[in-house]
């Protein structure tokens, strides 16, 4: 999937000089980075570096105070989240937030974009058509659940799932959007080893088979080394290094930013 001549196609996501302030606190201080088309790009850095703020600002949840965001060459700076969702950008939230009073299946179905049944007055006057759409959507959601090994839980209330399973549903909702670029916020945090392997394999497979580009925030650096290329390192609202994991691990600035966190050179 990756490759192509330099300068041939615009990157999936290009962030330039993005700035976000909260009062006097500068959360993003002129962040610039690229997410190449077809890549699994990593985003690492110590707590408070601004990674989640970057996600929120890129995905339209927070208005930026400066800078630009472009999606495949299209300027989408400060576009609202639903517009970006339609344009093929989905974002997962760090701590999964499922719709509590819905089943797992409904949690996925609701995430499909452009549903005619969401536009009044169609739910009242085109019942047959909407029933057909819903049946097809249900099938699609079940297929996504099957890929995530969650098909058995389709009719369970979302609250009955374990934390790790909720992370998978969160990923499933991003898949339902049909997004070609997914921002994943700590997909492996708080997940047991077995499920972690499963999540990593799922991300790699979706990238390989479906050509989905990912930008992944993750603290598990071994996982990042395994999955991600390139990797951007953020500290104090800035990108301080970019490159392969091996390259950024050797960067003294990165080591300093992590301040005491052991970053051994890659074997």
């Amino acid at each position: 999937m990756s490759g192509g001549a330099p300068g041939a196609a615009p990157p999936a996501l290009a962030v330039r000089g993005l700035t976000k302030r909260f009062g006097g606190f500068v959360a993003l201080d002129g962040v610039s980075l690229d997410v190449p088309e077809g890549s699994i790009t990593g985003l690492i850095g110590p707590n408070g570096a601004g990674k989640t703020t970057l996600f929120a600002t890129v995905a339209g949840f927070l208005p930026p105070d400066g800078g630009t965001v472009s999606l495949r060459g299209q300027d989408v700076t400060a576009a609202p989240p639903w517009r970006l969702h339609q344009a093929g950008l989905a974002r997962t939230i760090q701590i999964p937030r499922l719709f509590a009073r819905m089943t797992v299946l409904e949690n996925l179905m609701v995430a499909a974009p452009d549903q005619p049944g969401e536009r009044l007055p169609l739910p009242w006057i085109a019942r047959a058509r909407i029933a057909r759409d819903e049946a097809a959507l249900g099938e699609r959601a079940l297929a996504v659940l099957a890929r995530l090994n969650l098909a058995d839980h389709a009719e369970a209330p979302a609250t009955a799932l374990s934390g790790g399973q909720k992370k998978l549903v969160e990923l499933g909702r991003a898949l339902m959007s049909g997004a070609s670029l997914i921002l994943l916020d700590e997909p492996a945090a708080g997940v047991n080893r077995t499920l972690l392997r499963e999540i990593a394999a799922t991300i790699a497979r979706l990238n390989r088979e479906d050509g989905i580009t990912f930008l992944v925030i993750e603290h598990d650096l071994d996982l990042v080394a395994e999955l991600c290329d390139p990797v951007h390192v953020m500290a104090e609202g800035r990108v301080i290094a970019s490159g392969t994991m091996a390259a950024v691990r050797g960067d003294p600035q990165v080591a300093e930013a992590y301040l005491g966190m052991a970053i051994e050179p890659v074997e």
Partner: protein
Amino acid sequence: MEQAALYLATMLTLAGIYAALALGLNLQWGLTGLMNFGGLGFVAMGAYTAALLTAPASASHLGGFGWPWWAAWPLAAFAGVALALPIGAIALRLRADYLAVATIGIAEIVRLAVRNEDWLTGGPLGVPGIPRPFEALGLPWGQVAYLALVAAVVAGLFALAQATARSPFGRALRAVRDDEEAAKAVGKNPARLRLQAFLLGAAFMGLGGAMLSAFFKFMGPEALDPVTTTFLVWVMLIAGGSGNNTGAVLGAVAVWAVWAATDWLAAQLPGELATRAAYVRLFLIGLALQVILLARPQGLIGERIGQR
């Protein structure tokens, strides 16, 4: 016997009107999580719109256009929407509690306007002589026929509310209610969805007001008070089961039965005790709400997860 039948028809008609209000509130609160504490304002808009359009011409208030009910009632629903639109457009973008404050404020403004704008509403004298559909049939059949009309309207509103709740639109509303951030992350526009649900609920309340004014055959500032028009409807929805349309209707009928029964009981008390009992009743309704919220927060029949 005939007296009892008449009484029953009267009570059921009012229960039906309350069911319409509870269904409207369920669209707003139950399905979308919108705290509307200004039910009275929307009911009053519908009630006065229908009253002025259907009443005979009079010098004491605007118009009296003598329209038939079937032409006036849809406009009454629209009057509810017309009031909801500016409030919703402003307050729905803010945090949930701001809407509660804004709706309380607007209901008070409507109440004061109704009392003081004599040229429009007749002020304290109100709008008398509102025709009630089928009253030409005499008693008790006119009353029974009106009950049938109210029941038919409520059945229609129930069908509409069910079609809404079970549709992808209803699912998107529930998403916004359960978690706004997550709803945005799955591509929903919370402000737009909230506004639509708010307007739809306000239309139900406006229509309820129209049915109420025809039932009373009179509309004045004393005919609507916040306790019976706003808070009683909240009690009905919460007791019946917020998020469930059947629960809203059931709660309206059940709570109205209790409310009417205590009214009758209080009237049996001698002299001053009867006056005091009216206030005890308010206290009891508040207490009942507390008990329900603590003991059975989902109401008689709560929202079902799945199986839609």
